[in-house]
Amino acid sequence: MKSDCILAVDRLSMRFGGIVAVNDLSFAAERRKITALIGPNGAGKTTVFNCITGFYKPSSGTMRLTHDTGREIQLERLNDFRISKQAKVARTFQNIRLFPGMTALENLMVAQHNALMRASGLTFLGLIGAPSWRAAEKRAIELATLWLDRIGLRDRADDAAGNLPYGDQRRLEIARAMCTEPALLCLDEPAAGLNARESASLSELLLSIRAGQGPSILLIEHDMSVVMEISDHVVVMDYGVKIAEGSPQDVRDDPKVIAAYLGADEEEAIALMESGT
């Protein structure tokens, strides 16, 4: 039976020496929905991401990914590139990690590496210029162009990624992640550094990704307007533990969440709320 949740994180913990960055965290991300992971700085959100996407090996806990086909993958057992290649989990980074010396188009072509490697017959068919390879390359360029259109960068396809304005770079990174045709898209603060117009454009892009038969989205974000606008489900962390979970409205009104962000304690937060802010 295909479950409704694509990612089930169960009792995830991450320790670095004496520091517990993530403590016994459990939550679920629903299929084809947008789940947001929020919390004050230092709450451990990026650490969770790094565990999910294979950059850290969790100290304990499990993360079960379930594909549309019903296939289940235990993410804590995979690491490194296999998370992207086999589990089909893609991610973007807090500090944009594009390939700055390559063009926007090239960035999107690199994303299709695995498919293209197969099509090139581990390079050999490619070397001799076999027709099957040429067709595959053409398809790859088409997919890349499709995404460039979707993010409005078709005119700048041949510009170096490092030369693009910041907002375009953010969207390009998302497009690059999408070119790996993932089942789960993890975005680490995609709206960081964007102005209001760019944030709105980003929200539009993410909503359109959700509307298509595309991946489920898990994102870390500080920009509350984006979170409120697009998330279906929100998980709140503080000091490595989950302190609240629910719909955006539920979470917004939760005194524990307010307290965590304000640095106040819960009673003060309730008092603040009741005084009508």
Binding site: F16, T46, N50, F55, F93
Partner: protein
């Protein structure tokens, strides 16, 4: 057993020399994050300066050995320190904010400059000198095999220990040492707090070069010769020592030096002399693969 004891003594002496050179590598890597490829050749220059100083002093009629040694020590330290300072000023400081590769290639270039400079200046042939310090003590004698501790060996070890003590005091107790440690941690912040970063870095190179000069002089006393190529091999071995001990750690550098000296001596004695350099280089590879932080170093976590 006595053969082993002799090798042990020899190994410690050789290791002291490597340790002195290794300190220079580890200090520079700690403060500017680069491998000073030219450091081994600074050691070689130190040896040459010592050689020439000896020659002059002896030829002007000086015969009191301790006085000669002291003068040669001071002269070679001073002059070689100036070489170290000059190399840093010319080849590294302009590149401090350049690409990652640039200081390394510049250092390689400087290494070629130094080794060929001494070849051009002094000729390519090996330069021998008669033993300056002679005599020693027989520690143990059995069945015709003698375990001997020579005076040269004693001088080398004692010099090393004394210099190490001075140097440790310098790093932990003086203002300069504090500045060096601050620059190691965070150069920008140190600068904002009033530390003269340029001068501190220069002094790091100067001190490293001075210690390498002592190593060069010790090498000359111990082996009785210098040649323009000795910097290259000794440099790699000393760097291996620095890595083995944990790059950035001063006691580690000395520890690593002793280890490499012992390994090399024991290997030559029990296995094969020809492949002793291969042994040292292989250790470097093995250490960097399996124990990159070395014996006394600190592990680094990757930040994504």
């Amino acid at each position: 057993m006595d053969y082993f004891a002799q090798q042990l003594i020899n190994g410690i002496v050789l290791g002291s020399i490597y340790g002195l050179i290794a300190i220079g590598y580890t200090m520079v890597y700690g403060i500017v994050g680069m491998i000073n490829f030219a450091h081994g050749d600074i050691f070689m220059i130190g040896g040459f300066i010592a050689l020439i100083s000896f020659l002059i002093l002896v030829s002007i009629g000086l015969t009191v050995v301790p006085v000669i040694l002291l003068i040669v020590l001071l002269v070679s330290m001073a002059v070689t320190a100036l070489y170290g300072w000059t190399v840093e000023r010319i080849a590294y400081r302009p590149l401090r904010h350049s690409f990652r590769l640039a200081p390394m290639l510049s250092a390689i270039g400087m290494s070629f400059v130094l080794s060929n400079y001494s070849q051009v200046a002094q000729g390519a042939r090996v330069k021998p000198i008669p033993p300056i310090i002679t005599g020693g003590y027989t520690l143990y004698e059995q069945q015709g095999f003698v375990v001997r501790l020579s005076n040269v060996q004693i001088v080398v070890v004692i010099t090393t220990v004394v210099l190490l003590a001075i140097f440790t005091w310098l790093v932990s107790k003086t203002r300069l040492g504090r500045d060096m440690r601050a620059c190691e941690q965070d150069q920008t912040m140190a600068a904002l707090l009033g530390v003269d970063v340029d001068r501190t870095i220069s002094m790091t190179f100067v001190i490293g070069a001075a210690l390498a000069a002592v190593a060069g002089m010790m090498y000359l006393l111990y082996y009785g010769l210098v040649d323009f190529y000795m910097g290259f091999v000794a440099g790699i071995k000393a760097f291996t020592a620095a890595v083995l001990g944990g790059i950035g750690s001063l006691p580690g550098a000395m520890l690593g030096g002793l280890a490499i000296g012992l390994i090399e001596t024991l290997w030559s004695a029990y296995f094969s002399v020809e492949y002793k350099d291969v042994a040292a280089f292989s250790i470097l590879i093995v250490v960097l693969i399996f124990m990159p932080t070395g014996l006394l170093g600190r592990p680094e976590v990757e930040k994504v």
